[in-house]
Amino acid sequence: MKKPTTLKILDVVTLVALLGATAMVFFYAPIERVMGAVQKVFYFHVAAGWVGMLSFLFAAIAGILYLVKKTKIWDLVGVAAVEIGIIFIFINIVTGSIWARPIWNTWWTWDPRLTTATIMELVYIAYLMLRQGIDDPERRSRFGAVYAIVGFLSVPLTFFSIRIFRTIHPVVIAGSDPSAVGTFDMTPTMFQTMMVSIVVFSILFIDLVWHRIRLGKLANQVEELKFNIQD
């Protein structure tokens, strides 16, 4: 299976866009007056969180489609999305910690967003462990789909439950809770940088999903070939 030309082009575009976004974060966006340089973590922090959520949404939709249509491709999409989502939410949590250390004076607090992001991470690690424990490929796909749906449903409920307590996480977009620590008003250049980061990370997401689906297809082919040799 040759690598499609569109994918090759997308690889290059993603790389260039990623470099461009990084340059924007460092040179285009101004340094925030109170927080200083550490605020620059914000752009990729938000973008990574966005891609993580998007991935898990994809995984849940792929799960529903798999259960309805039973076609293998939706299973591949589901796994691809979950694996990528785990990485991006991890980036999201780590960058958040780096920012929180100087601003909140702690690496970690039991804030709804932080807690929910980490529980979400655990849900999808459990998803991978579930898949690993099942040998029959068809059953593995089926159970994966079921768990992706259940997990995705549970995450917002967790968020909502913890949200009822007070939160200190800043809501930079559309919201000004005075009790939040570390909030700031975005200048137009900051806003542009953030939007560019989100778009670039979305492109990166598409590129990675494509690669992962292709990898999944190749893995299936290898499995089939091995099976044929054994016969």
């Binding site: 259960l67 529980i119 655990l122 849900v123 459990a126 462990m129 579930l130 690993q132 424990g133 099942i134 040998d135 059953r139 089926r142 159970f143 789909a145 079921v146 768990y147 749906i149 259940v150 997990g151 449903l153 549970s154 409920l157 967790t158 909502f160 439950s161 913890i162 009822i164």
Partner: protein, 227 residues
């Protein structure tokens, strides 16, 4: 083809079968109960409990005990079906498969409630304080419903996996967290003597979560057991 057995008849047959089997073997409840008591004892030594001053802690311990014991019960109740090929037998029966799901869930629910009903008075005696109240019983009723609703679904997946003994808690605990939070908060409020109206939110949440979890498990159960 013979007409299908009615949904409720099939469901109660499954519940009845589980209860009779438990009455004769007494494997599940005795294991859950001993385990629950051990958890309470371990907490006592680990945390130096004094429930009169630390009502929030009591609620947490009660719920940890209940969900740990429940986890044990859920795993066992599905493993028995799987090991002796009973699950295949159940699935071959010409009944709606969701009737089997609800049957198993209700049986598991009953087992959890029995364990809770024994643990509560023992806890009260051990700490010389009465924690039993209608409101707390209602929280346990609602909380364990949500727990078994999603637990029965996940247990029926976990027993079909190679790593089944370790898989269920890992699958179940992160997903069940919303129910646990609401249940612990409501219980802590009750044990601190807050009026019912202050805890209304948590009760509402528990009911909403129960409905959501039960209906989603009901919708996907078919795909878990199909062969």
């Amino acid at each position: 083809m013979q007409p299908k057995t009615s949904f409720f008849k099939a469901m109660f047959a499954v519940v009845w079968k589980d209860l009779i089997a438990e009455l004769r073997g007494k494997e599940l409840i005795s294991a859950m109960l001993v385990f629950a008591l051990l958890v309470i004892f371990i907490f006592n030594f680990a945390l130096e409990l004094d429930p009169k001053t630390r009502s929030a802690l009591t609620a947490g311990i009660l719920w940890v005990t209940i969900i740990f014991a429940g986890n044990l019960g859920l795993n066992r109740s599905m493993a028995v079906e799987k090991d002796r090929g009973c699950l295949d037998g159940l699935l071959l029966a010409p009944v709606d498969r969701t009737a089997i799901y609800f049957g198993k869930s209700i049986a598991n629910w009953i087992f959890m409630l029995i364990v809770a009903m024994i643990v509560l008075p023992i806890y009260s005696i051990l700490y010389n304080t009465n924690i039993i109240s209608p409101a707390l019983l209602l929280v346990i009723l609602l909380g364990s419903e949500g727990y078994v609703a999603i637990g029965t679904l996940l247990a029926s997946m976990a027993v079909q996996a190679r790593t089944r003994d370790i898989l269920l808690p890992i699958l179940l605990f992160p997903v069940i967290l919303p129910v646990l939070i609401a249940a612990v908060k409501a219980s802590a409020g009750i044990l601190s003597g807050f009026p019912f109206s202050d805890l209304q939110t948590w009760f509402n949440l528990l009911i909403v979560y129960d409905i959501i979890f039960t209906s989603v498990a009901f919708m996907v159960f078919d795909s878990v057991v199909e062969e």
